[in-house]
């Protein structure tokens, strides 16, 4: 039984037996893993607030041969969402990040790019409005998972979309020009495509001057969520809750 140590982000916890917690973690070293935190519900001495969702921790765990579940030995808090105010929109945004990571990442596959993306977006969610960091996270998750289609040309005729209107559909694999759009397609505005291109070439911190409300990125987020939900073949619980937040 080897003791391993890694930087990690806590994604979810589930009650297990009388006082244990089953914890899903996204570790830098081994990707997504699941482990049991013994007596974590009963005694806070060993884990404290380290098992709160979206807490960045340094985790020590034992891998048991032939068993999928790790045994969590200790968790040291590196950054906690509880260190700053958690209002309702921020709580939903944090849960959305956790749900996307949990649903999209395969078990035991390290992905440093996604790990760095998650840390950068979580840092931005501590500082500012939720919509821009969330849009950035959804865009980059779509790209890093390999699902992002070309945003500059029509998937049907191959013509460049520069300047012209672009449309997307839940069952289409990319953007379409006005001539090729399907029935019940939604429009992706030129400004949104421009913002997406900027986001693909700059870190999330560089948008700190830009304060966005919900509406300007709504079409972009709808597009990415449609792509992601189609690939995981289920509706994201938190996507529905984000829709109900009005600003």
């Amino acid at each position: 039984m080897a003791l391993k140590e890694s930087e990690a982000i806590v994604l979810r916890t589930y009650p297990l037996r009388e006082a244990d917690l089953l914890v899903t973690l996204f570790t830098r070293m081994e990707g997504k893993i699941r482990g049991v935190a013994r007596s974590a519900k009963k005694s806070k001495r060993r884990f404290g607030g380290a098992l709160e969702p979206l807490t960045e921790v340094r985790v020590c765990y034992n891998e048991r041969e032939g068993q999928d579940l790790m045994r969590l030995d200790s968790c040291e808090v590196l950054e906690s969402p509880l260190a700053s105010e958690v209002n309702y929109p921020r709580a939903v945004a944090l849960a959305h990040v956790a749900e996307l990571l949990d649903e999209l990442l395969p078990d035991h596959e390290p992905n440093d790019a996604v790990f760095r993306l998650a840390l950068a977006v979580l840092a931005e969610l501590r500082e500012r409005d939720i919509w821009l960091p969330l849009t950035y996270f959804e865009l980059w998750m779509t790209r890093l998972m390999g699902y992002l289609p070309d945003l500059s040309e029509c998937i049907v005729c191959g013509h460049a979309l520069n300047g012209s209107r672009a449309y997307f559909h839940a069952l289409a694999d990319g953007l379409m020009c006005p001539n090729d759009k399907r029935l019940a397609s939604s429009e992706l505005s030129g400004e949104s495509r421009k913002l997406a291109n900027q986001m693909l070439h700059a870190p999330v911190e560089s948008f700190s001057e830009l304060s966005l409300q919900k509406a300007p990125t709504a079409d972009l987020r709808k597009y990415f969520l449609q792509i992601l939900q189609r690939h995981i073949e289920k509706k994201l619980v938190t996507a529905g809750m984000l829709e109900k937040i009005d600003r």
Partner: protein, 199 residues
Amino acid sequence: MSKFAEPMARLIDELKKLPGIGSKNAQRLAFHILRSSDEDAEALAGAVRDVKANLRLCSICNNITDGDPCSYCSSPTRNQRLVCVVEEPTNIAAIEKTRHFNGAYHVLHGCISPLHGIGPEQLRIANLMRRVQDGQVDEVILATNPTVEGEATATYLSGQLRRAGLKVTRIAMGIPVGSDIEYTDEVTMLKAMEGRREI
């Protein structure tokens, strides 16, 4: 073929549905019930029936009660203008143990939990707002858990309650009595420092 006679297998299946009870424990409990006297078994069955038949939620505070309003809401000796908001009815017992709180309660029956699809509209907030708007309350103490979800619930409620212009307070967070500062994690220590008071 089942290992046990049908009534026994049924009892084991029902007991297995209880939280924290696995197959072995369910078997042990089922055999204990089988070996106990008829009176004891009947008393257990009666207690289960009674809980389902006679308990309901208090129309004022949502606490579980056998009479409406509950004993806390109908007590003339308690300060009904001071309301402590908790997540679950079991939290009331923890506060009552202090013997220092003499106000009334309001039970939300949960907290905001986006990962489970629970938003403010799924919680029992409407009758708290009615109590506040009717001018029956001077101060609301938010005693939700010190977790991300509990904090989100408290922040949401404070926003709603402050609009009604009353005093809203949050229970303190920090180092547990009898523990050691050396072993306190950084978030708990931060909250303890933020919530320090003059002595």
